[in-house]
Structures are given as C-alpha cells and as structure tokens.
Amino acid sequence: MNDLCELTVREAHQLLQQREISSVELTESTLQRIAQTEDKLHACLTVTHDLALEQAADADACLNEGQGKTLTGVPVLVKDLISTAGIRTTCGSTMLENFVPIYDATVIEKLKAQKAVIIGKTNMDEFAMGSSTEHSAFFPTHNPWDLNRVPGGSSGGSAAAVATNQAIYALGSDTGGSIRQPAGFCSVVGLKPTYGRVSRFGLVAFASSLDQIGPLTKDVADSALVMNIIAGHDPKDSTSARQPVPDYTKHLSRDLKGLRIGIPQEYFVEGMQGEVREALETAIHRLQEIGAAIDRRASLPSTKYALAVYYILAPSEASANLARYDGVKYGFSAVNASSAIDATEKTRQLGFGAEVKRRIMLGTYALSAGYYDAYYLKAQKVRTLIREEFDQAFRELDALVTPTSPTLPFTLGEKLEDPLQMYLSDVCTLPINIAGVPAISVPAGFADGLPVGMQIIGKPFDEETILRIAFAYQQATDWHKRKPPLLSG
C-alpha cells in the first residue's frame, strides 16, 4: 500500500468512515511526509505536530461513534493569513511574526465543526503580495517539480504542499491569481470561488473587493467536497452572499454535451510561452473530443487594461487595509523612536518587506489628492467595462478557457528585481478577480517536465459548471496523477 498521505480527501474519508485507517495514522503519515520533504521544499511556516495528533485522536473518537463527516479526521494545511486561534498567523511578514490570533476565521470554524485535523500553516508572499512566494519574510518555497524554480504565489506553500502530499488538501486565498497560478505551477487543482461565496471573516485583508478563500486539492472531486463545507453566507462578513450552497459534487459526472466553452483570443497573445500555448491547444482539443462545443470567437477586448486596473485597485485597497499596522495593538513595534509618529513610521519601515512597501506606496499615490481621478477613479470605471464584457460573454457561453499563467514556472530570483515582470505572471488570472467570477486551475500537461495549468472561468455563483468541465477533463487525462520527481528521488 502507498503512503496514506497520498490519499485524496474522498479516499481518506471512505477509509476513515469504514475504520480501515485511523485519523492518527493518516495524520502521522502527513507529518512524516512533511519531515521528509521540508528541508528541500520549505512549504510550511508552522507545523502543529502535537495539536494535530490531539485533533486526530478526537476525530477518531467521533468516527468510532459513527459521527464522521466529509472532512472528519482529514489533515489540512492552511495558508498563513487565515486566522487560527492559538496558532501563530504570520502572513509571511515580520510584522506578524509572533502574532497569535484569539479567534478562528469562519472557514476554520467550519473545518473544526467537521473535526478536520489542522496540521500547520503554509508559506506565502508577504500579505499575499506576490506571484512566487519569494516575498515571504522568512524563506522562499521551492517548486517540487524543479527545486530551482518558484512554486508560484502567493499561496505557493499550500500548492507545493498538496503536490507532495504534505497534506490531503490545503486552503489558500486568491486576490489576483494567488490560488490558481501556484496550482498551475505545481500541478494541483486550485479554485477561486465567486466573490462573496466563501466568508472572508478572519482572512487577513489585502484587497477587500478582490480577496477570496478557496481550496487547493489533488483532484477536482476534492475541490467540490471542500467547497461543500466552506461555502455559504456568514453574518460576520457583510460581503458574503446569501445564495444557497448547492451540493458541488452532484453534477460532477455529467458529460459536457451542450456546454459552450469560449476561448477568449485576448488571452493567447504576446508574451505567452510557446510550450504553454501548445499544451493549452491540446487541452482544448481534448475538451472538444469529450463533447464540449468550442467557440473561438469569444472576445474580451478590455483584457489588455486588466493589469493596470488591478495594480491600481489592489494596492489602493491594500494601502488602506495595511494602515492598521502601527505597532500599538498587535504585531511588530519599533523600539527606538522619538515620538508617536516616528514610532509608527519606523515600525512600518522595519516590519514590512520591499514588495509590501511598493504596493502601499503605489496605492497611497493612486488615492492621493490630485491623482485620485486619473488613477483610482479611472481604474474603477474600466473595472465596470471589464465586468460588463464578462457578463456579455456569458450570455452566450457557459464557460471560458485560458491558460492559468502565460509562462512555465520561472527560476528563483528571475523576476525578483523587476516588479512589473512579476506582475505579468498573473495577467491571465487577475481579470477574473476584477470581474468577481469563479475560476479553477487544473493540471493540463507538462513541458520540459514543468506543469502547465488550464484555467476554466465560470458565471457568478456557477462553480458547478466549471467543476463539471474540470472533472470531465480530468477523467479524460491523467496529468493530475503524475508525481513530482522530488518524491521518487
């Protein structure tokens, strides 16, 4: 038998229910995998070894009584910007290096209600600002498919961990691609739900009109299973939606007959690596073979403005959200200061890293007197146009398919000194956050041993259709079953 940590959520759930394995055994297997791989991968910031085994024993007691639910006893890793009561939550920042939340995020409450086993917190770009996990204040995470390359970001720790079976699944957050791009780079499944579908309560705020929490999983069925638990309205998040939550697994196995999938031409232009284009063309052909109607006339003409819109709006919101870090109520606090203002300024100078400062500066500028109209207001207007184009496209189409990222995983350090090049890594994913629609990245092939991700974009609150397409594609391929060389070496 393979190591237990290699199980999916669905497989683990079945074996736990039937009491063929215990949660303690399963949890020990993931902890052991972390111990074996972590010196090469650096995916975790905190591993809650003893606490996890306690939770596992508790879950086993529950399972023995026949009270097990979908996620009972299944080990999960959580991105380190989702608040976990009593467990350090750093956001990958010096600012919160020793911060221990006093409450759980709503998604964590939901996992705990299921008696899920939380085994630790994963590495990330500081405050989720980045596309490579190199902006972590602690250390970069490495890509399990090639340790000299980045795992993507900002949920790079979660993606690398799932790819190497350090956990059965993980949670991440996505503001401009931070679940999907690392999922693509590490060959796992990453879903960014519709804005408002999953409660953001307890998610440390980056850009409040764009942030969403979502699952990173080994396959599509697991993505649906986890969504069943974490989605839903939360009175503590006034932007969370009241729409009822469907059973996301219900229509997974329906075929694709009658579904119209658009291929927006604007996503296949300049800067795209040839290998990515080739892999995507093959994947699109496969979708057609299994019954989808492909429409290549789909067009989202304002796509070329999305990067500018995003990098005005997200930093603007960040500059306001991060104003709270003043070294008074929690977090890092500069010691040597001559006055209250001096203390605030030095706290922020020493507590924040370069990329966070860059974004705070950008956002502050875009919101400042004299520039607000030209930058922030203009970007909000173009945001309206981008959203309308998605609405328009979805009048005739059920989903859109694009690459997840225009390039293969790049090497560590390659884009670190050129922020704009780093930003371009999210050029295919950030329009989706601007429009607030859901999208999933699924493994869609390899080039030179490096993963390529396919992004499937859906109508607002229609996660079911993109999961169905992703599931059908996964049934017709076996990319998701490939294991990174790290695990055989």
Partner: protein
C-alpha cells in the same frame, strides 16, 4: 510619469513609512516604471461609465443592534507590544 525624490518622500510620509535614501532611489525608479504602464488606461473612453463600487448584488446589509459577547480584556491585550494597567500603551501624542 516620472516621480521626483520629493514626491516619493511625500507619498512615504502619507503612508507613514520611514525611508532610507537608498529606498527612495529604488522606489523612484520602480514606481515611475510601473506608473508609466498605467498610462494605457487613458486610451479607454469612460465617458458615461459608472465606477464599479461594489461587486455583490447586495446593497446595505443590516442587522439588529444587539450587544453580543466580546473577548476578555486579557485576550484582546495578549498581542500588544506594550501594555499597562489593562490598556494599550502608546507614546505621547501631544507634547
């Protein structure tokens, strides 16, 4: 849009970020480069386009004004860098 030293210092002041001269130099070049790329938005005709204000369909969200249990003082203060007599300790604001 090329930023000057003075502009970078002004933005840093607004953002309450202390900054070394080396940082000012670096941000001046990087931010100018990024801002130049935002000029593309000026090509878009947005006459009569309303700014996107909120994404969800919901408008105002109301709830009853009912007091609920909060957290104990000691927990609230648990992460405070400086505290005294059950309060957050801050530096003097008025001289």
């Amino acid at each position: 849009m090329k930023l000057t030293d003075e502009q970078v210092k002004h933005i840093a002041w607004l953002a309450r970020l202390a900054m070394s001269q080396a940082e000012i130099e670096r941000f001046k070049i990087q931010l100018s480069h990024i801002l130049e790329n935002f000029d593309i938005l000026q090509q878009v005709d947005t006459t009569d386009v309303l700014p996107a204000t909120q994404l969800s369909a919901s408008r105002n969200v109301f709830r009853e004004d009912k007091a609920a249990e909060s957290y104990p003082q000691q927990q609230i203060l648990a992460n405070a860098p400086n505290q005294e007599e059950n309060c957050f300790k801050v530096r003097a604001i008025l001289e």
